[in-house]
Amino acid sequence: MTEFDAFLTDFLLDAQERCDRAEELFLEAGACDGPARDDAIDAARREIHTIKGNAGMVGMREVQTAAHRLEDKIAALDAGAEALRTILSDVDELRAMLRLNIDIGQESTNGPRIAQTLRGVRVPFESLDELVDLAAEMVVFRNRLDDAVVRARDGSQSDDWQRVFEAHEALGKTLSFVQDRIMAIRMVPLRTLFGQLRRIVHDEAESAGKEARFVAIGGDTPVDKSLLECASEALGHIVRNAIIHGIETPDSRRAAGKRIEGLVHLRAVQHSDEVWIEVSDDGAGVDRDLLLRAAESRGIDASAFEDPLQLIFHHGFSTRSDADLSSGRGVGLSAAQESVRRIGGELDVSADTGRGTLFRLRLPLSVSVTRALLMRVDGEEYALPLSAIAESVRFSESEAHVINGSGVLTWRDRVVPVLDLGVAMGSRCGSIRPSGYIVVMEVDSKNRGVAVDDLTGIREIVVKQLGDVPGTHRGIAGATILGDGRVLLIVDPKGLASMSPRVVAKPLVQEFV
């Protein structure tokens, strides 16, 4: 990237941010009147003016002209809401023009996608992702080195070893700092979402002929950028839903004795390592009978839902017979709930007929995501972190042997002890299952096989601690919740490797099925 390219990129990103700010100001202007409205419009005009000036400097005549025209329009703006609406679409046009230039710039320099940060250096989000992965890999190597250093030093009084040991320890500490800092850089304040949500409220209300205002508090809560994307999608659906299905038309609001202008209220609060976001509207709430009728006409068995309200999260459910651009396909909220669950959060709803709807979104602030292999054993399912797996092999009776009561497998010309996962987890006793898969783990540079019935997939999982669950948790690292709501246990490779592969000696009694 030449110096001028970098300059150009800076301009484009800056201009985009200014467009966003101008858009927010226009929306604000639409929500108030008198001097406040004039101030907001004037502030928006200044943003556009700056874009015009900068565009001239970098020689983007096209952008300069567009900004100039927009500025003139703003100066001539009258009090009507209609005028604001056309201004917003002009802002969109300007933004599209900027985006086009960014795309062209990207093709020519073949550079990575440029992310936006609030202040300071702009860092592509991809490089942060890479850094996170690299740091995680370094932690793995450090752990491996841990054992080696301790073992090598064992008994040795040599000063050299002492120095190695100390340096290793110091390196480990620095490494965890580095990891923390990288994670912190990925945190962005929740308020970065508010602009686009305000826009959705504005646009949807307008196309539905309704009046609505968006009020948001708690925007300072920092959230991991990767989670923000999921939150943005879910909140977008919720807010859209609030306008389309919640807020009534001005006439029915007047008849119900409500303020003509509906209110969509977002409140975010941080609760230890989670952010709880509530989105409420003061609309008509949800008519449960209508939901039940709609379910019936779509052939959905509503009796499976403890509250008809839950139907709105059902895939393919919609109260509308026609699908339009923004809703009616019946996939929005169910998809949102699923993606929220995937990252370890939860989305639910409550509603009072006539008094509005309340969505509650709970998200973790950051993620500890692991890739894991899902395995089926005796009708149960477990997850095993991929980082511990060397290979999985299919086996039948002739390939697994029992020596002195322990299972063994010949793998890569070596004899590897095999543990039956069902035996380890108490769902089976006696012997290794006759066929299925053996997952060969590598733990502390030793191999250990784990016999299971079937492999059911590879999934990104969020690790949750078992915490309050009583028991010894032997061989279990934690639990995870799948997209469909099922709770799955995560196998602890280290704990499992330390269990005896003996299958006949000590059968584990199963207390109940």
Partner: protein
Amino acid sequence: MSTDIINVQPPLPPSALAEDILGPGAKSDIYTFTDSLQTAGGEVVQRRVRIETWVTFALGGETFGLPVTHVVEILRVSGITRVPHAPPTVRGMTNMRGKVLPVVDLRVCLGLPPVELDAQRRILVIASRGRHIGLLVDAVQQVERIDRDSVQPPPPDVMTSESEYIIGVIQVSARLVILLDADRVLSIHSAAGDRGAVSSEGE
């Protein structure tokens, strides 16, 4: 005292949601008033009456109760994952809105045989000091107002090691309700108590 204040709340269907049973109002769980009684001799005696709200549920043909103050929520059973190496009273764990909730089989706690899960069965979520635990019961019945003074100790000859959870019994509209001690159930199933060796330490 007069029995007419018992069962002032209409009986709720077994499928009633937590929100219905534990909605605002029901939470005004304890109230006291002074009751006047006329003895056979014509003397008027005054007595402080303490009324508590309890959630009743079925378990092996009997009716049991837990104080509404401890019951946070009532869940339908939607998949319980077995936890290996857990005490026999622990049925497993379930998903409570994104959190992992341990589920204790109250049948096993009380010495009854465990049974298959069916549509009637519910999980009563009880909480104390920030800890949550789910109690698997056969079916949730209703919310009862009971007079604390009418609670009788359980007959000594039916007490066994399983009856450590029982506070006493009370007669409510011709039915015997066995009252359970929620704190006792919680403390017996505290995870810290029985987690001996760390799982990775091996045999």
